[in-house]
Symmetry: C2
Subunit: 603 residues, 2 copies
């Protein structure tokens, strides 16, 4: 208990929930780290794809970046509309489910949940990779460092939304500031450094048609859009007016993302930077503009921090989305509850656990996972836009046409991008996501059906008259004369007047001894001796209980067992197995309740 309060602090009262909300400044930090961190690798991904087509194609970098920024604008606009129309939190799951039906909603929700886990895994691994390439001594501890990072992020998130917002704001703004500084400085320097030609490229040029190379480059660059939906899932985390604040934050995020993407791409092209296995494009650009100095290292440091913090956005959205889905009974209901610090602690813990598991499974080598998550994001984008189009048509009224045109354009664009990504990345692992999403959908359906069936079984509708039990028989199985048995007998006397102690005879000598001792302590309770030719304690007992059940058809039987409560965990191995077994068997008998009377052992 004290470790817990040391790690996550003292609990917060429910009435203070509104105080825990995020301002726009903090919200931008919390929800944009995933999207903004893609600036660190977006341009590079495009260049790596283009370079296969030879130097000529490298000139397409800027047009592709422009296309991506247009895509950002479309998606952001349509999410902005979604937030306005769903002020209580309108993620892809809610919008798709509300307008398109359960399955589209569940597909969107499952895709996002899987994505959040992947995002945590990939971004933590990427951040740690940045650190280990600076300090190769740490290389052999990659997995441990990843797990530690996940642990730290998990704990900080368990401390509450505001607190994690405070802690994580600084690195995000440091990153934004330093990238904007880099773009500004690149601009100033461009007056004194006229553009040069691309060097001759070594290596063979691919035979693929240029159009396919450009498409692949575009698909790779679309990883920039991951995380842009984060705000829409987290509207309820903002201070009121929630929708307005979330909307403004989304606009700012899209603006910053657009400027940074375009700026980096433009100057990477201007300074003719080539993709390089050993140095990131961002590092090359920073080195070209600033040389290796304080500013250069600050940019590198802020970049690796923001890569790790991209995980934090998932820590906001995974628990929130899973709590919404649990509220709709598609996930276990434990995910619905807010913990001591008003965050959805179970969701946070599960996210931490799953991503730690993935890290260990892939031993920190997560490049394999990178192509996977664009598929999930664009599935969610497409479904959410489609839902919005349907919403506008149903809603009608003022602005429905404009709204549906914007969302329709968004839907078509993201659907096309989804197809391109799925096709391009299918053999690189996208198929895993295309299997994982239906599996998760299936699980949510199973959970849902179970909860529905339970609700129906528990329903009070057909209940009219309630009768008390006609008789209450209490049976106390005893294995010898000792204080724990005495406790059970004494308790049984408080339950009913019909108490019987039962002793299974395994050894005639012992049985006679038992009979002799019984009278002194029996409190008037009769002792029944059961024969057991096969040495089973349980079977004769069950037979006896069945006999009593048959005798009093409208009655109830309570089986009272003494239970040792040891003071050390391993003492459990030395006690209670028979009692546990009896309880396990009785659990499935109707009209029988088994009760353990604890006997507390010392030392």
């Amino acid at each position: 208990m004290s470790i817990k309060s040391f790690l996550i602090g003292s609990p917060i009262e429910t009435v203070h929930e509104k105080h825990e909300r995020l301002s726009k400044v903090m919200g931008l930090a919390v929800f944009s780290s995933d999207a903004l961190s893609s600036v660190a690798y977006g341009t590079e991904e495009i260049l790596f794809a283009l370079v296969l087509g030879g130097a000529a194609l490298l000139n397409d970098l800027v047009p592709i970046a422009v296309a991506i920024v247009i895509l950002v604008a479309i998606v952001a606009t349509s999410y902005y509309q979604t937030i306005r129309e769903y002020p209580s939190g309108g993620g892809a799951y809610v919008v798709a489910k509300d307008n398109l039906g359960d399955y589209p909603g569940l597909i969107a929700g499952s895709a996002l949940l899987i994505d959040y886990v992947l995002t945590v895994t990939v971004s933590v691994a990427a951040g740690i990779a940045a650190i280990t390439s600076a300090f190769p001594v740490l290389l052999s501890h990659t997995v441990l460092l990843c797990l530690l990072s996940i642990l730290v992020i998990t704990i900080i998130n368990l401390r509450g939304v505001r607190e994690s917002g405070k802690i994580f704001s600084f690195p995000v703004y440091l990153f934004i500031g330093s990238i904007l500084l880099l773009i500004g400085a690149s601009f100033l320097k461009s007056f004194s450094a006229p553009p040069v030609q691309y060097q001759e490229l070594k290596g063979t040029v691919s035979n693929v048609l240029p159009i396919f190379i450009i498409l692949r480059a575009f698909a790779s660059g679309c990883s920039t859009l991951t995380g842009i939906e984060a705000v829409s899932n987290g509207v309820r985390a903002f201070k009121p007016p929630e929708a307005r604040n979330a909307g403004i934050t989304l606009v700012w995020m899209a603006l910053i993302l657009g400027i940074m993407t375009l700026g980096i791409a433009y100057f990477a092209h201007y300074y003719r930077i080539l993709p390089n296995e050993n140095e990131t494009v961002l590092s090359q650009l920073a080195r070209t503009v600033f040389s290796k100095g304080v500013i250069y290292y600050t940019i590198q440091f802020a970049t690796s921090l923001v890569l790790i913090l991209a995980a934090n956005t998932s820590y906001q959205d995974f628990p929130r989305l899973s709590s919404i889905m649990a509220g709709d009974r598609y996930l276990p209901r434990q995910l619905m509850n807010r913990g001591d610090k008003l965050v959805f602690s179970n969701g946070i813990l599960i996210l931490g656990f799953l991503s730690a598991l993935l890290i260990m499974l892939f031993r920190g080598e997560t490049h394999l996972l990178i192509p996977l998550y664009a598929v999930g994001v664009f599935t969610a984008f497409t479904l959410s836009q489609a839902g919005m189009v349907r919403h506008w048509i149903k809603r009608g009224g003022k602005g429905w046409l404009r709204g549906s045109v914007i969302n329709g354009a968004g839907m078509v664009t993201t659907a096309v991008v989804l197809l391109i990504i799925a096709a391009e990345k299918f053999s690189h692992g996208a198929w895993i996501v295309l299997i994982a999403i239906p599996c998760l959908v299936l699980v949510t359906r199973k959970v849902h059906n179970h909860y529905l069936s339970v609700a129906q079984q528990l329903s009070m509708e057909c209940i009219t008259d309630i009768k008390e039990f006609g008789h209450h028989s209490v049976i106390v199985p005893v294995s010898g004369m000792q204080q724990a048995v005495l406790g059970a007998i004494k308790y049984s006397k408080a339950l009913s007047d019909d108490v019987v102690a039962v002793y299974v005879c395994l050894d005639t000598v012992e049985t006679e001894k038992m009979k002799g001792k019984w009278d002194k302590f029996c409190m008037g309770v009769p002792l029944v001796i059961l024969e057991s030719p096969y040495r089973s304690v349980v079977e004769p007992l069950i037979d006896y209980i069945d006999e009593i059940r048959n005798r009093y058809k409208d009655g109830v039987v309570t089986v009272v067992l003494p239970e040792f409560v040891p003071s050390k965990w391993w003492h459990h191995l030395l006690h209670n197995q028979t009692a546990l077994f009896i309880k396990g068997v009785l659990l499935f008998k109707k009209g029988v309740v088994s009760t353990s009377v604890p006997f507390h052992l010392r030392g």
Copy 2:
């Protein structure tokens, strides 16, 4: 249940226990397989040690074998005496504990228990190695084959003593017959084949003094003695008169072991057989005498069978010894019980589990374990003989002097051998056993202290008057209005007149709804609403229970919780967590009993 009865057969009544006992013929097969199997490698071990000293030392093979057979005679004689003096089963543990005190007894018992596990592991691995060297295709499945063998031996032993005796008698007698045939044929052939000189030995001759080489050879050859104590631990498995039958079996076993050891050593020397990594000494001798034919292959087959079956002796003794130690409260008492087939099933299962674990840990490569188990055996020998010497002195009367001289000689000899083995094999892994034995002794002490402390806490001695409880309060925590709650309320009404339902308010709207629904179904039970500013369900409930406990100082409180009994295992994840948590907390409160009323879910 039906799988169980298919595998191990239908249960046997307790009264038939005597019919399950072993005759001398079966007893010899069951208890001697461990000892006799050492004939398969004993001579070889000596030769491998001697060959390091050059050809001249090889002539010491026969004298060393004679020394070992004398040791066999001494140890067997003193165990024969032990059986006579301890007719109810006198293993090293019982004898040492009775005469020397708890610690020597526990050391002997622990050494034997560890040894039995090692014996199973090593002999199964050796048997499978014999098979895989005949069929190298199977080599990559070594671990699987070992585990399967352990599984089969475990299941056959669970079927009962007589049944395993029947199944395992044939290979043991086949082995005895074929080895005696080999010795006889060697003898006949020796008339036509006069002894030759040893070939010149290749390789460098060791610089170690010959006496140390001879000592090491002797220590290696002492592995022949492992298993000789088996009969003494299993006296109770024989038909009456148990001690007499066991004694006769022991004598026969020692005789056969002596003849076989001496015969193999003598003719291995006579035919100048050299140790060879690729072919066993036994195989070379059989090939020399019979050439490769049916008889040769029969010998090889019987040898590998008996190597695997050496494990079976441990399956007799481990469960028996652990049941005796559990009876003395040094091991968990579950080990005391006989299962359906009158064998100590839990001991058999634990032995199977532990040896399977060792197989997996060492991936079937168990040469490492071979030096380990001679240490345990000779520790047990020495302590048991020392105990017998003490026993004779205490007992006095007829024959005490002769008895104590024989056991004294045995004690000194085995103590010297123990020292030699421990010194020679210390760096080869004997230190592991020298750590494992004290650890196990410590565990048995801890278990013992716990059981003693519990017995004292349960003692009825100081109990004089027993009062009934002054009041019985029943508290039903409810989370909503549904049938499971109704079941809990109805049951509570059968327990006491003072029943109160308790609802924790997490949401004022829900609470009002609950109040509205309550009256219709409440059966006269009042509903108490508890406030919970920190959203905890458990804390306000515990506070309320404490309040009730304080109100009725001489009373008892029952907390009745509905418990869902799902029809599929994974549904557990979707229910009952809060109830489980409440029960866990209440377990440690005195004067509070928590009861679950099962609600059976369909589908």
